[in-house]
Symmetry: C2
Subunit: 190 residues, 2 copies
Amino acid sequence: MEALLNTIRHFIPLTEADAALIRQLFKIKQLSKGQYFVQEGYTCKQVGFIQQGLVRYFLNKDGQELTYEFGKEGEFICNYASFLDQSVSDESIQVLEDTSLLVISFDDLQTFYKQVPAGDRFGRLIVESIFVRAKKQLASLYSEPPEVRYRQFLQLYPDIQQRIPQYYISSYVGVKPPSLSRIRKRLAQS
Amino acid sequence: MEALLNTIRHFIPLTEADAALIRQLFKIKQLSKGQYFVQEGYTCKQVGFIQQGLVRYFLNKDGQELTYEFGKEGEFICNYASFLDQSVSDESIQVLEDTSLLVISFDDLQTFYKQVPAGDRFGRLIVESIFVRAKKQLASLYSEPPEVRYRQFLQLYPDIQQRIPQYYISSYVGVKPPSLSRIRKRLAQS
DNA sequence: CAATTCCGTTCACCTGGGTTAATAAATCAG
DNA sequence: CTGATTTATTAACCCAGGTGAACGGAATTG
């Protein structure tokens, strides 16, 4: 819970009363490997904060699962497109390891916005940060070849590389597993 | 000006007083072909609404201009990442034809938010819509080959295809000009 | 422990885009 | 209108990734 408070404090100041409210509104949620935080076809009803664990975001293209993002400890997870207007999600967030989350419901988040003075500001900053993140990924896809994207992935997630199957990484990088194998081989012998 | 009001009414209802305020806050701005709405290294100080004309968004990768988006009549243009926190922009928006805009400054937009009851809601909906747009483009880059992306571009911008150089389109599609030529050739003979 | 499933790598072959350069076509400026 | 510049196409060659399949090793399961 302290990690959550510190992360929020990274964006806005919190009084003790604010912190107490946050402790009330966020609930512990455990998901085991393979379970979904949001599933395609359902509505994203919560925002989560990862205390421990790992998730992947993916979308479905003609039956193919395209993993385009990961989430790790200390990060918020949510399909905001579905959450913000409580519409049906067209993508999924799946847990890759047993994961421990703190979650807040849509309604409780409105309470947070009402009662915490800088709450709206926090909400705006979070949405902005995920938007900037999406833009960065777009820029990377446009400008970097797969090999560079793989190296950047290793920098971004140095630890989790051995905790998950390679084919999730290959999807993130934008290639098929055999091609990632070749990239890894090229990098190893240089 | 009516086009702007109707576009806003597409998101929220407006009273006559709201409309009058909007008419005051938005100013006419003319840009001629080649000029910039925002330039890399400068701050985006306005949001624009295109009355007539065409723009491209691009980012700079080692001297290469990567065009990743277009804007046309009836659309808002802005580098929100730069505008929202008034920071230096890392990308540019350039006018591809003589273009007539209605623009609102950062400060005047705050006035709009304060005085129009549903103003904040409008702001949120706009930011959401550009976020969803970015996500769609990300999904398209991940899931569609260049040929499909080119066909989708033609559907999205049926008119402007002959008004701009092909190399902006090839960049948007994610390939080099010779490759777009080959794609066009393949499509023509099928 | 054995059997099965899953996963990463490798191979051979194919396809499509990158690159460079030449040419043709279109646009622009004087 | 003409010469100069810009832009689009084409050609030849190269290279990286896709595909389908086979293999071996790891992990799972009964």
